[in-house]
Amino acid sequence: MKKLSTQLLFVIGLLLITQTNAIAQRNFGFYSNFQNLPQSHYYNPSWNAKNKIYFSIGTGMHSFGASNSGFALNDILVSRAQDDSLVIDPAGAISKMAKLNYLGFSAQNELLGFGIKLKKSYVSFSIVNRFDMSFAYPKDFIQLIFEGNGGEFLGKRVNMDGLGVNMNSYIEYGFGYNREIGSKWKVGARYKLLSGIANVKTKKSVLGLTTDETTFDLTIDGALDLRTAGIPDSNSTFDQNGAFNFKNRGMAFDFGVTFQATEKLKLSGSLLDLGSIKWTQNVQNFSKEDFSYTFRGVDINQAINDTNYFETLQDTLKEIFFVDGNNASYRTALPMRVIVGGTYDINKLFGVGATWFSDFTNRKYRPTVMLSGTMHLKNWLFVNVNYTVSSRSAKNIGIGFALKGAGMSYFVTTDNLLGFISPAGAKNFHVSTGLGFCIGRDKDKKAGK
């Protein structure tokens, strides 16, 4: 077990060391698997538990995810021909990368959850910790580290545009409401009051290094607009009160709709995290206008004639790379997501589904498609298997279990089982689990479904 933990840490560590972006993906397996669980309303506000009352304190839902769009561990660690030793193959990993790659980590932890069904309506309240962090790493950046600037990059610009970190941490206080409209429609919405804890936003990141193929002159160009809030510096400590004091205040909305097209076919869609946070506390912004500087080597003429030449050169470099700072407040939009899906119950035991997810982060659109199958093995046991194509990875097979009974509901689900079986080949790893308490009879059970 110790070895297992060590290896998992190594995997995560290696991914972090090699760096990431974009807001990490969610465990979308939940969407298609467990629409009737109390926690399902996090993915579509028109959904809710079948029980009369649901509540949880600290156990309702915990979701963790990590992803690396650039390469899998198997791409960088390869077997040596003469024996079974592994060797690092940077070229192999680099060949798999896109121009800009993302390494991300996300967590969603329900601190408090409550819901109650009122005839055709459902009202809920939740407090959820949200954390997303990503690191964007250009392919050229990694190639530069491993290969240097003296090989393939001679005469070319090492394109490190987009290199940066994005991180968002806040507490979400959600008030949800949904209602059945007729026999086929159901709509829901959730208003979320947000209290920001910390944020890092790389709004603009341009960085290039060009090495003259003849003279080896180095030209560095770039620009930066980096905004941070709640990040402690050497003179301060992390302020945990940000979770509750609403000094970095924001709000967001979730919307959802469900349409029971036929007895067996159900269509649904949701728009999540439509909102923003205004960051005002402990703000430190850094910016650098577009610049370009070419270092041609020590100027012999000046070095001979000016005894202070090297001090002057040092001052020049400081001036060129000086980054302006300010403490102006700023606003960040939440990474909005759109989910559209449909399920079809083949019979009482089996159902299939298809779901299309879209992340809109930093004006970038990243789609994910999932196909799923659900088995109702018992009234209290559900099993779901899904297949996901996302993050330039098509090797994502997920599985999930849900147990309902004795006033409790428990689930665990992942969208990438191969991440457990063969972590070295995985680009994504997500797992969600939760335990909630239910009061009141499940309508499905009552109906004998």
Partner: protein, 531 residues
């Protein structure tokens, strides 16, 4: 029951897959490897004009013509004749032994009362330099007057120097000897000659003579005058220096003067031939003596660096007369210019990479009329060799050594390559050999594997002007195996051989002030770091 079994089988299978999957990762099998990035960086950049190359190397002066053409000027200045070389004022001593008869004093048994007797004397000035001196305006000096008599009476000496004036007033001095019963009686006085003017023309000879008038006043004590007594005096002029001397100084042969001009352009040149168009050797004399001087060149020659051979200039004017200054404080400038037109072989003696130019000068005064010399009079010679950078050169070889250390760690460096980019705007090509040696000059690494043509000469048009720069890229590689060896490098030896553009064909090139040599040094390192 069947479905329950399926559930537990699924769970077990999943756990088994997870555990075995993690084992498959095999992180404990990662082998040691090397990280081998290739790094390229610029090290240095420099742009050198002819000023940077030549002026920084020595004290020569570049001159730029109206069209930008450049000439190197080597010069040296020296005072070849000083006032002390022409005239010196030694100490002067005049003694007079005066008897009673000389003064016309008769013998008496008892002398009482007061009686005055006078005598005029002219003394010759000791002038070893020769010539006739008319006046001396003293800068420093002292005139001491000593008197002695054995008269048994009180005596007063009244001296008058009618030709010596202080501030325009004739100098006089009195010395009183009060008889107290013992003889001989002695006394003295002095004159500070600073700023005094002595006229030496009022004697019978018309020059070089000093007149003295002496009045002796005897105040009788009742003692006798026997007629055998004496009344002596002596004059001594010491520590004499002058501000101005006038006179007819005549012909004086002066010591010869020898000077050397270092031609540092060729300092590091071991061999080769330089043919420079229109060299010019100029001697500029500034004479502040009021005396004409004739200059004769005993020899003008160059000395070759490699062989030590000397090459004499011939066919130039043997004697050159210098004008004299019109008045004290002024000077007259006379210039002698030697070129290929008024010499037989100036261009020739400058061709074989000369290291020095040597000239030996004799001179003599030709003062027939009234002349003058001031304390600061001198003849200053400014010798200037002007070498227009125009012509052609072949087969020249330069050598130089610089201290250096190379500290590239072979543990982290697989190989290192130095790249030298050259953009040559000069009409000179260069083949270079660069050698790394240790402190005992033992060869460690021949970077260029013998002579390497580093850069071609920039081509020139029919006027000798460069039309476009020549460019070249030169790479020097040190392998990992060589790194431990070159770590012992103490010196880098450079040998540069070359010629001007088509120098072997006699194509004339000209150097202009806008020519540039651009050097850019970069380094590419194949690193090797064990992981």
């Amino acid at each position: 029951m069947k479905k329950t079994n399926f559930y537990w089988i699924s769970v077990f299978t999943l756990l088994a897959l997870v555990i075995t999957g993690c084992k498959k990762a095999g992180f404990d099998k990662i082998a040691t490897q090397a990280w081998s990035p290739n790094l390229a960086v610029p090290l240095a950049v420099g742009e050198f004009s002819v000023y940077d190359i030549l002026v920084n190397k020595d004290s020569s002066i570049l001159t730029v013509g109206p069209d930008g053409a450049i000439a190197i000027v080597y010069s040296d200045s020296a005072d070849i004749v000083k006032a002390s070389d022409i005239i010196a004022l030694p100490d002067q001593n005049f003694d007079y032994n005066g008897s009673m008869a000389a003064y016309g004093i008769p013998p008496v048994l008892t002398f009482t009362g007061t009686q005055t007797y006078t005598i005029n004397q002219t003394f010759p000035l000791n002038n070893p330099s020769g010539g006739s001196l008319f006046t001396i305006d003293f800068r420093t000096g002292n005139l001491s007057i000593d008197v002695e008599t054995n008269l048994m009476h009180s005596v007063k000496y009244d001296f008058t120097f009618p030709d010596l004036k202080e501030n325009g007033v004739v100098v006089t001095r009195s010395i009183n000897l009060n008889y107290t019963g013992s003889v001989p009686q002695q006394g003295n006085s002095a004159v500070n000659l600073q700023n005094a003017i002595l006229d030496l023309t009022n004697g019978p000879g018309g020059s070089n003579e000093v007149r003295v008038e002496l009045a002796i006043i005897i105040m009788g004590s009742g003692s006798p005058i026997t007629g055998t007594e004496y009344v002596d005096f002596s004059l001594a002029m010491q520590n004499l220096d002058f501000d101005l001397i006038t006179g007819n100084l005549g012909s004086i042969a002066l010591p010869s003067f020898k000077d050397t001009i270092g031609l540092k352009l060729f300092n590091n040149t071991s061999q080769g031939t330089f043919t420079l168009s229109d060299p010019k050797l100029e001697f500029r004399f500034r004479n502040s003596f009021g005396i004409p001087v004739d200059i004769s060149f005993n020899s003008i020659k160059t000395k070759e660096i490699s062989s030590g051979n000397e090459f004499n200039l011939t066919g130039f004017p043997p004697v050159f007369s210098l004008a004299d200054a019109a008045s004290p404080g002024q000077s007259a400038v006379s210039t002698l210019t030697i070129t290929d037109q008024n010499s037989a072989n100036l261009q020739t003696i400058l061709s074989p990479t000369p290291k020095v130019l040597i000239y030996d000068i004799g001179c003599s005064t030709t003062g027939l009329n009234t002349n003058f010399i001031t304390h600061d009079s001198k003849i200053n010679l400014l010798g200037t060799l002007t070498l227009p950078l125009e012509g052609y050169a072949t087969g020249f070889m330069l050598r130089d050594t610089i201290e250096a250390s190379i500290d590239l760690d072979n543990e982290f460096v697989e190989s290192a390559m130095l790249r030298l980019n050259i953009e040559n705007g000069f009409p000179v090509e260069a083949s270079v050999r660069v050698v790394l040696v240790d402190q005992n000059y033992v060869l460690l690494k021949d970077l260029t594997n013998g002579f390497k043509n580093l850069i071609n000469a920039a081509p020139v048009n029919s006027s000798g002007r460069v039309t476009q720069s020549a460019t070249a890229i030169n790479d020097f590689t040190i392998t990992n195996a060589e790194l431990p060896i070159v770590k012992n490098t103490k010196y880098i030896l450079f040998e540069v051989g070359g010629q001007t553009f088509q120098g072997n064909l006699g194509t004339v090139v000209k150097f202009y002030d806008d020519y540039k040599l651009k050097l850019r040094l970069g380094m590419q390192v194949q690193a090797k770091v064990k992981l």
